[in-house]
């Protein structure tokens, strides 16, 4: 081999080594100056997004037979910021647990406009979504509303569920439809001259009085001849159809995080369990195109959250919340045992009140909760996602829950009380299941000489405090990701003395790895990693890894 060739090869190898040895960590800093991000940007004009629907049957078949066999990737949620939180976006707004919500805020929920004027309803088409009877009509002011009635066998329950659920899910951070409980008086109804209904032959023909009667015959009527309805305001913007719980919209430039890796969509497994949102499917979601800053962006809604609490499609669906419509393992067990392997739903004591439906909190197990069909985001839930969600559930106290339940305007006050009790029981079980499952240290704060933090599981009274907490302190190089050990400290409480050797220059970083010792929870021994940046006003928390995917010395590409 010639010397020239040797030199060339050596240079090539050296280059390769240099490139591989230059830590990939240095390609981008671990923390940017705007970390932690408070809002997910939507920088591009999405006006080209077009409507696309997903068929109910396809989604059900796909989710039951394909999604149910989906192997969770274990990938950390990709839309979280550097402190393990979900930034605001067109999907989600941080509300409970992130800001102080008053009872009035919760009771108002998503409402920003006036209630409908029910003195005259003008029907112009049938209700196009959901299983419970309804119509689309304009009120006396000419505003468009989607009206939903209570079925005969569930007086109060269907409308109350919508009322309560919109407020719970609004408080939890989701975009919700403005809904009001109001009255439908058939003597004050007219059918609009252009009102139509889609017939089984696929054609739209004029809406008739018989069409209205066909609806009213199936719904609960009050003694005075009027009907209790829940009115949902027409959403602003152009309707783009449903969003899916996996992938991204290919026509929305701002939609860059696969939906199954959006934490707020994964967290619906926890929020769904709490509220028993059994009909967790794309068909109950909606995307709309709305104007913003001179352009258009896609806004994502949980449009129909009415299949909640004990509200089902039918009076006799005892299994909802306990099993998917189809589960292979359960099917085989029942087949082999002639049905003698009983599921909990076959014997559980429901609070049998017609205004509640099938709902209970005693045998409820959040990890065993099942919607009608799984979604990919549901399958991707990790313990850190569930922990995040559980903290939000835990932020609802009894007064808050009672206030929201009261908006259901139950005619049976005992039903209202029972519902509050069930929600509290289910809340506590969620806290018990998910808060201790990961290292529950939250809210680390670093002052000049002390480190403060909280233990979410202990504070929620679902776990015993550990014997002590330990902390390993490092100086952190934001450019390279390198860690230089500084000290190790410990404390029996959630206040710990900081070492005296912390860097003092502005812009410097320290990393603190905090774990618990002397506890039954193995997961607590795995430290959380907190990152602080020194600023003029002190140390600012800029990073928090609860369940990181890679060693801390590598820069994560996540945001």
């Amino acid at each position: 081999m010639s010397s020239k060739r040797l030199i060339a090869i050596s240079l090539a190898v050296a280059t390769a080594v240099l490139v591989s040895e230059v830590p990939t960590a240095t390609r981008t800093p671990r923390f940017f100056r705007d970390d932690p991000l408070g809002r997910e940007p939507a920088s591009q004009d999405a006006s080209g997004a077009a409507s696309s629907e997903i068929g109910d049957l396809y989604e059900m078949v796909y989710n039951l037979f394909a999604t149910s066999r989906y192997k969770a990737s274990g990938v950390r949620a990709q839309n979280i910021n550097t402190v393990d939180e979900v930034p605001d976006s067109h999907w989600f707004t941080n509300r409970i647990g992130a800001q102080a919500l008053t009872i009035d805020d919760l009771v108002r929920g998503p409402i920003v406009g006036d209630a409908p004027d029910p003195s005259r309803w003008t029907i112009f088409r049938e209700k196009t979504s959901g299983v419970h009877p309804g119509i689309t009509a304009k009120d006396a002011h000419g505003d468009t509303w989607f009206l939903q009635f209570d079925p005969k066998y569930y007086p109060d329950a269907a409308t109350a569920s919508v009322m309560m659920a919109t407020k719970f899910f609004w408080a939890l951070g989701y975009n919700q439809v403005e809904t009001f409980l109001t009255t439908f008086d058939p003597t004050r109804v007219e059918i609009g001259p252009d009102a139509t209904v889609r017939r089984p032959n696929g054609r739209r023909t004029p809406f008739t009085h018989d069409d209205l009667n066909a609806i009213l015959e199936r719904v609960a009527r009050r003694p005075d001849g009027t009907y209790r309805v829940v009115a949902g305001r027409l959403l602003p913007g152009k309707v783009l159809g449903n969003f899916r719980y996996e992938g991204t919209r290919p026509d929305d430039p701002n939609d860059v995080v696969p939906h199954e890796h959006r934490r707020e969509l994964r967290a619906l497994r926890v929020f769904g369990a709490w509220t028993n949102l059994t009909d967790l499917k794309s068909a109950n979601t909606l995307d709309t195109l709305v104007s913003e800053n001179g352009g258009a962006v896609v806004k994502h809604w949980l449009q129909d959250v009415g299949s909640t609490f004990g509200m089902n499609n039918d009076l006799r669906e005892w299994d909802l919340g306990w099993e998917h419509f189809y589960q292979r393992g359960t099917t085989l067990k029942r087949l082999a045992s002639f049905g003698f392997t009983l599921g909990p739903w076959q014997t559980v004591d429901y609070v049998e009140k017609p205004s509640i439906g099938k709902f209970e909190g005693v045998r409820f197990d959040p990890r065993a909760w099942r919607p009608q069909t799984p979604t990919t985001a549901y399958m991707e839930l990790r313990d850190d996602d569930a922990f995040w969600a559980a903290r939000r559930v835990g932020a609802f106290n009894r007064d808050m829950i009672a206030a929201i339940v009261h908006t259901g305007q139950f005619s049976d006050s005992s039903a209202e009380r029972a519902l509050v009790d069930i929600m509290l029981k289910r809340r506590d079980k969620i806290l018990q299941a998910y808060l201790p499952a990961v290292n529950p240290i939250v809210s680390p704060r670093l002052c000049e000489s002390e480190l403060f933090f909280d233990n979410a599981a202990v504070d929620a009274d679902v776990a015993q405090a550990p014997r002590r907490y330990t902390a390993a302190w490092f100086e952190f190089d934001n450019a390279t990701g390198a860690l230089r050990p500084l000290a190790e400290t410990s404390s029996a409480t959630t206040v710990m003395r900081a070492p005296t050797v912390l860097p003092t220059e502005m812009g410097s970083f320290v990393s603190v790895q905090i774990a618990a010792d002397g506890t039954d929870y193995e997961s607590w021994r795995r430290p959380i990693r907190a990152y602080f940046r020194r600023q003029i006003d002190g140390w600012k928390l800029v990073g928090l890894d609860r369940l990181p995917e890679e060693p801390a010395t590598l820069v994560a590409s996540r945001r």
Partner: protein
């Protein structure tokens, strides 16, 4: 020298390129997380495309639209012309003639070459949705219908065959006056029974019997059949139920235009489903008693006598295995919900036939038992497969409706 330069160029270019690339830059002050995300969004904006459904999604959605809106007019049809013909594949074409009314033209031929061709008009929302009208007309043909003699003590070796063809036309109105449990049904039809030589291996009926020993043999008879029924039906859906019941009495009048074989028939039917463990189990019982009364000086023809045996009654016996002027059927099923779409069942059937009503008792009942599997929707049984065992052997039943 030239070669040396060429050899060095790739690694040098690579090194320089890597060192100079923006992602390698050490300066962070001008960078932000938001900017990084906006860059990603900007990149995506150059590759936007509309959502395209996969072939599977397109196919399932088309099927769904067919169910909801009748978008596809062709459909499978598995109903045979007469019991005992075996599997009868067929096809139909539905045309919606108004918002709710349909005309369905359909036909089938069974593996024993039983044929059926008919057209049915259905108006499901008459009288402000209280009534459903069905008008049907067509032609049917059965090539080897088994006849084992009258009475319960016949033997399989007694089998003889008959064959017939029959044009028919009729109308039926089903009324739910209160839109609740009370159900009234009335209808009339005309059918001509013309017999021909059977094609099976069993001897022909007319080789073993004479018109004197078997009423109706060797004649062509045109019947005007009218019926009226009153019942209480609170099952979830007739096609699939795990709760509720049906209690009904139906009166039939068969008028022979030649006044030779006119008779009346009464059917008493009770179905009751007892749900257990939140309807995950159901004990379902069914009873059907049929009695016939010949009109003055007339006879009940053998081919219209009540019969037992076949896929929905005495499932362990062949179709029409037992015939006589009166019949009694008792059935029980233990239905087990395996999942939302699939049930299994253990069943027991018993029944008998007799010349006189007073002879219908519970002694000497013919019986069978078996196991079944059913695929269903909330409202209809899509496929029923039953394996039934009786003293005459084991039979396999395929059905596209519930047994009861």
């Amino acid at each position: 020298m030239r070669n040396f330069k060429l050899s060095l160029m790739p690694p040098v270019i690579l090194l320089v390129g890597v060192l100079a690339s923006p992602v390698f830059a050490q300066s962070t002050d001008n960078e932000s997380r938001a900017a990084s995300m906006e860059q990603e969004q900007a990149m995506k904006s150059t590759t936007l495309r509309p959502y395209v459904r996969s072939p599977l999604e397109r196919a399932v959605t088309r099927f769904e639209n067919t169910l909801l809106y009748g978008a596809t007019k062709w459909h499978a049809f598995f109903e045979g012309s007469y019991d005992g013909g075996g599997f009868a594949p067929g096809v139909g074409y539905v045309q919606r003639v108004s918002a709710y009314n349909t005309v369905d033209v359909r036909g089938s031929q069974s593996i024993k070459r039983y044929s059926l061709a008919e057209a049915e008009f259905i108006a499901p929302r008459l009288l402000h949705r209280r009534a459903e009208l069905s008008v049907v007309g067509g032609w049917k043909d059965a090539t080897q219908v088994g006849f084992y003699g009258l009475g319960a003590s016949t033997s399989t070796s007694d089998r003889a065959d008959f064959a017939f063809e029959q044009p028919f036309a009729g109308a039926r109105l089903k009324l739910r006056p209160t839109r609740r449990m009370l159900t009234l049904v009335g209808g009339a039809d005309v059918a001509r029974w013309s017999f021909k030589t059977p094609t099976g291996t069993a001897p022909a009926v007319d080789s073993l019997y004479t018109p004197a020993t078997l009423a109706g043999l060797g004649t062509t008879t045109t019947y005007v059949h009218s019926q009226a029924s009153v019942g209480f039906d609170w099952r979830g859906a007739p096609g699939y139920a795990r709760r509720g019941g049906l209690y009904a009495v139906t009166a039939h009048d068969y008028t022979d235009r030649d006044s030779r074989f006119g008779f009346r028939r009464l059917d008493y039917e009770v179905t009751q489903h007892f749900p257990i463990f939140r309807e995950s189990w159901a004990i379902s019982v069914h009873s059907l008693a049929s009695t016939t009364f010949a009109k003055n000086g007339q006879q009940v023809p053998f081919y219209l006598t009540p019969s037992l045996g076949g896929g929905s009654d005495l499932r362990g016996y062949s179709s029409g295995r037992f015939r006589d002027r009166n019949s009694l059927l008792l059935q029980g099923e233990w239905r087990i919900m395996v999942n939302r779409f699939f049930d299994t069942a253990v069943f027991y059937d018993a029944g008998t036939v007799a010349r006189r009503v007073s002879e219908l008792d519970l002694t000497g009942l013919k019986h069978d038992y078996g196991f079944g599997a059913r695929f269903h929707t909330p409202f209809a049984t899509v496929l029923r497969v039953d394996v039934a065992r009786s003293s005459e052997g084991t039979t396999l039943v395929f059905g596209t409706s519930a047994a009861f």
